[in-house]
Symmetry: C2
């Protein structure tokens, strides 16, 4: 529930958790510039990490799904360089970083676990970078959507054929470094091609594999 730790670790980590907290959709878990001594594990819901430039431009950094760790830093004094906002109602476990570190020293398997998670996240960030740096708007949006699908299906393995995203076009645009207007045109195109749809205000991905192909994705996802 709280994190993908081994059972043994799980029972112990309770001692160290400062507590479990809930947030409503749209609320910030922390802002840029905050000075915190906490880090978090996402228990349920979606979170967006983003950075704001001085002139208001916004860039989405990571879309977090349950199981993600975030807010962990090497340097506690330094203010947060990004903000975390809830894309849905959310519940997190929060840890005081100093205590978490003590815990990790005592429970090396948990530390290793975090390290492996971290390695996975690094790959996701790499993918994001490739997306932003070298792909056209169509490719970007397409890749982003199928990647989210895959991450979702990894956990709820194999249920829905249509995935609903709690994300509006403004958010997608900010994640992909595009303007809302252009994002809309791309998405609209996908809609006409039958890859996505809208229902109850939510974006639906109706055919992620066809979308992947249309956008030049090699079989196993890179």
């Amino acid at each position: 529930m709280c994190a993908p730790l081994s059972d043994a670790d799980l029972s112990l980590i309770d001692l160290y958790r400062q507590g479990s907290r809930s947030f409503k959709k749209g609320v910030h878990i922390y802002h840029e510039g905050d000075v915190l001594d906490l880090s978090f594990s996402l228990a349920s819901g979606w979170v967006l990490l983003y950075h704001l430039l001085e002139d208001g431009r916004r860039q989405g950094l990571e879309v977090l799904l349950p199981g993600s760790f975030f807010g962990f830093r090497a340097n506690l004094q330094t203010p947060m360089t990004h903000a975390a906002v809830c894309l849905t109602d959310v519940t997190v476990c929060s840890f005081q970083i100093t205590r978490l570190q003590e815990f990790l020293i005592d429970h090396p398997t948990a530390a290793l676990h975090m390290l492996r998670q971290c390695a996975r996240d690094r790959l996701l960030l790499h993918d994001h970078i490739v997306n932003l740096g070298r792909r056209t708007s169509r490719e970007r949006v397409g890749h982003f959507l199928v990647q989210v699908c895959e991450r979702l299906l990894d956990r709820h393995a194999g249920d829905a054929d249509a995935v609903a995203l709690p994300i509006n076009q403004q958010v997608i645009a900010d994640i992909l470094g595009l303007s809302v207007v252009h994002t809309n045109r791309v998405l609209h195109g996908f809609k006409e091609e039958g890859f996505v749809a809208t229902r109850r205000g939510k974006l639906l991905i109706t055919d992620s594999v066809a979308l992947g192909q249309a956008v030049g994705l090699t079989p196993e996802g890179v």
Copy 2:
């Protein structure tokens, strides 16, 4: 020499290291698609991690300086999703991941150390993403250059007022998601403004603080 670990750890890690290896500038430590059971710690030199798209577009992912860990994965079976190429002559320590993991279980402080390093890298990746997603070409090049400067000065703390980079314009372009031609024009501009220069075929950053200002950097670097 081998990594920023505590002395105690350092003496022990020798047991686990598969060996120290040297590579010439331009050589690959590994390619995309390689199946390895190794991960690395950069002892000296510069390394570029990059990803290649099917049609030849290339995207630089990370510029590694001494002390960086790379090649670590949660899943050993999976082929590498990026390549590592030497920007200079390089020496690395290589570890068999399975043995490294055993080591980290036995030496939790080392594990924690890697975790903190990982957290720092994540911030660097975030910065890269912001650069690619929301900054103009001028801002991108500028930010990249001063960031490299800062990372360099962090270690060799406070020597040169002019920093020489072992990186050509093609590489910069690939890191920043720009074309070589455009990168050249931006760099040329910086040259005329007196922020950078060329000597012995190397790019020199002659005034990183002025460059930072010119490019809209807030005092302490975002």
